[in-house]
Subunit: 320 residues, 4 copies
């Protein structure tokens, strides 16, 4: 092992730069060379590849987004394109590839591994919906960004005795909604993992108004339905004033939290240490607070992210 | 003069609590009593009025929203309702009323003044669209909240080479869009006060991409059109990838900035000092960095807020 | 079990209010009554105790500090004083006590338990130095507050090619220093758990300057020595310009992060559920991401907090 | 006029990068070339000068510190050194120099102007203590950073019924202390511009405790004395528990606020427009909300910054 490549793919998440830095620095520290691949798998196939110096990694740990850029590249589903990518890696003398990203990015890394090119996946996505890890890079930042918005919305809602339906990101997983919802004292959290009854939610909010609460808050995961649609349905059962908000893409970027930076640093360094031990074809993760690495093919094909739905029940006990 | 009343009305803005505190404390400091009226003009007519102690004003300066609550109350356009409000004020022995709020709130204060009840308007709205003042309470906070979102969006946009259309609040005025847009290095700022040509905007963004800029940003004032509509029109002239975001109600609440707290404190205290001098029927403001007070009836009927459109031209020079 | 008491003791930490809310709400939700004890053990002995309604718990989850106040009360080390406290609890019909706080607070809970009064400890301290848990309430917020400061200091240090020694809280444990230091790209992290060689640190910083880094950053745990003293020693071995900063008490308060709010909510609810199962005399914690409860006497007498020093080695690999 | 040079000097302040960007872009937009001089006057004399492209100015407006770096360089007080600087400017074909910085930086610009080299000063310092302007770049950010700390300190102080003495920056001017102090509900603000009586301050805080306030806060400008010394003196007159904090260098860096970014953009663009009109030897500023430019020699020799001490009296009326 002499050279490792790094790319980011899929939606950006805060802490990706911290992961890039950790991978590059940990590699350099072990006597390897680190190469950055711009624009994800598209850049890989195009050979948009450059050596990374340690000093380039100064001043990036606090930046959102990804300095290696990302790009959509559905063409990478084709075997021929994958082989072109491997040819580029070999041309640059790269022995192993670390891919930071979400589900789709992992599938790219899985394919390369299946073709015999040692590829490791580092989970970077705000949705927290990747198998093989309890937490992904960017999740903590996204939850805190959503929470900032919810705290502000609570001020406005209370001032006007209104109820807000706030849609947070999470197409396939309710994790952001659960964490931000508990933290914001939401009356109801609506996630794909659990049944919901809009009439019951309306009644609960009415009950809370009657008990002196000055506002209502529903935190809704994107994957369930849109905030506007939810508001319309809620209005059928309620006579309080309701507003819908979709937080959208403002949840991705921004300065990463300490937790995301440390997690990204641990993941990145762990990937390099495993590669140095001769291991590969792995999905990096954290499980029960321990760094773990599982077979990337098995992880993607046989496992699914498990949202901690006990948090849903918890919220029912503290916000009844 | 022995007792003054305070109410907040219209959309909440950050710093309203700082204004309430300043009015109450400055009144108490001058030997007056301060009464808070809950739920705006609705609460006024209903007699939802209570004495405010100085110690209740501890720990409120840093809170968003309004501790006196607000409420929509179109009925206050009727003279009979206005007279009921005055009757309540007299019942509580209140000699003058300070109303914190936006355009509609000012009209309420204007009506009471026309009926002979000394009422003073303090400008509190995030939109900065009130005549008689260069800046309103909550504007600076709203701009910074919008800017936080824009900075994050820039991270994501750069990571993906995308262009974002971000709609900020401002139904009648482009002030938030102008300030946040300049501060976020926006390629284009679209406001009601200025003509715009979507084709030219698309060309400018294309030019910037060609010069190495990794993303595009358009900041759009709510009053022009929706972000989704703007994106659709932009897509007709462009082939870059575009996303639309509407920041919405997250821009209202939250911890007020230092500027909003100091401005609110100056306004509130100034209102009391003018009342103590026997003046009334005034709109409080700041003009060219000096506290000013103008006749509330004349201000509302003969003046309009002037957005500083020189900022628009400025942005064209620094983001060409 | 009918009534539970809640008190906060020792230094405040962000998320204590979230814990109070969770304990009170979870108790009320289970049919119990919740009583708040003001001013810690001092208020307990004085009988400063009041019933908490669920609606009082609205709007507190986002507030720093503790709404039940805290107080130093060394007199509680005396058995007689402890028995007075128990008498007060019995007078109010309280069957079990949940104490939120740090080391000293736990000892109070331990004493009451030894006297036969069922007391549960919930770990709330920014230092993360309590046995029986991997993380304490307030730690994540404190790390992020410290990190905000370090990010800003890095801007200034880079502008002037300076090295800053920043002292963060942590009398007995280097956890804040480790997390904030890794996240801020610190050249060196100095903690009580590890030997350090100031000359080597100076040499490392010199090496980094030579490699193009524009500044130096040393994050120092309070327990090692003061920033001013460290700077003086460093100056003996270096010729770069150095400044010392002590962050101090600004690290305690402020809006809690999502992680601290969720952790506090889980801890508080778990304490109530254990009490409902008839258990008691416990220290609540989280270990390997699972809620745990250990015997409070055994925990305090036979266990010590284990700082994760693997993070120290990690930093050496990513910031060489 | 064909080429303009830009340098930053003295202590960094947030928004300097926004000013650099505005100067460079506004120059380029007008057909000029912009040159950046690294490391202040030291770099000027050494000829550390490079052309700035517009695209280099992407993504810098949100960054604290200064991308052109700063440096102490007392040697620039010597005429010979100044002439060397001018020789370097001429060597690079630079026709005019814009200096962003504080008092010392202005003196450098003044000397160059006296030697016949057209130099313009743009006020960038957190202390707000430069003649010729009501506000400097970085002041608003520094006030908000200090305020964040004060809000957090208030949480802790209230939890423990303590009084905190918090020293903020401002060697010669009390502006940061005044703004942050008003905004944080400080019991007392101690600034160089006003007499103070520590005994009276102690009595006021005691009075406030007696009236139910749960804590005390004194905001102290660095120029008066250290927080530790103030605390010692205060302890002679009080029996409440007091803590001292020095915020120090954490107040300089960080993401600039919207206000600082817009102000910096206006200043930078204005400097270029004046240079294009053939003017020079000027100090740029904002007075009564209007951009102004005054003779830099006259401004420095015959004028002093006027702190708005009416804010001091204001605080006495709202925090009695």
């Amino acid at each position: 092992m002499k050279r490792i490549g790094i790319l980011t793919s899929g939606g950006d998440s805060s802490g990706m730069n911290a992961a890039i830095r950790a991978i590059a620095r940990s590699a350099i520290s072990a006597g390897l060379e680190a190469y950055g691949i711009n624009y994800g798998f598209a850049g890989l196939v195009a050979g948009n590849i450059r050596k990374l110096d340690s000093s380039e990694m100064d001043g990036v740990i606090d930046r959102g987004g990804t300095l290696l850029y990302s790009a959509r590249f559905p063409e990478f589903a084709q075997e021929q394109t994958q082989l072109k990518g491997i040819a580029q890696l070999k041309k640059f003398g790269i022995d192993a590839l670390v891919v930071i990203g979400g589900d789709g990015s992992y599938h790219g890394a899985e394919r390369l591994t299946q073709h015999g090119f040692n590829s490791v996946g580092v989970p970077g996505t705000i949705d927290n919906d990747i198998p093989g890890t309890d937490f992904t890079i960017g999740f903590d930042t996204a939850v805190n960004v959503a929470l900032d918005a919810l705290d502000r919305v609570n001020d406005t809602a209370t001032s006007h005795q209104r109820t807000f339906v706030v849609e947070v990101m999470g197409r396939g997983a309710g994790d952001i909604a659960l964490w931000a919802g508990i933290a914001a004292d939401a009356d109801a959290i609506v996630i794909p993992e659990r049944e919901y009854d809009i009439k019951e939610i309306a009644e609960k909010i009415n009950r809370n108004y009657a008990n002196g609460k000055q506002h209502g808050l529903i935190v809704l995961a994107e994957g369930v339905m849109s905030a506007a649609d939810f508001k319309d349905k809620l209005d059928e059962f309620s006579n309080f004033e309701t507003r819908a908000i979709t937080l959208g893409h403002v949840q991705r970027g921004g300065r990463p939290t300490a937790k995301d930076r440390v997690l990204a640093t641990r993941f990145g360094d762990y990937a390099i240490r495993l590669l140095l031990e001769g291991k590969g074809g792995l999905a990096i993760g954290i499980h029960d607070n321990q760094l773990v690495a599982t077979d990337i093919i098995d992880t993607l094909e046989n496992h699914k992210h498990q949202t901690d739905v006990s948090l849903y029940d918890l919220n029912e006990r503290v916000r009844f």
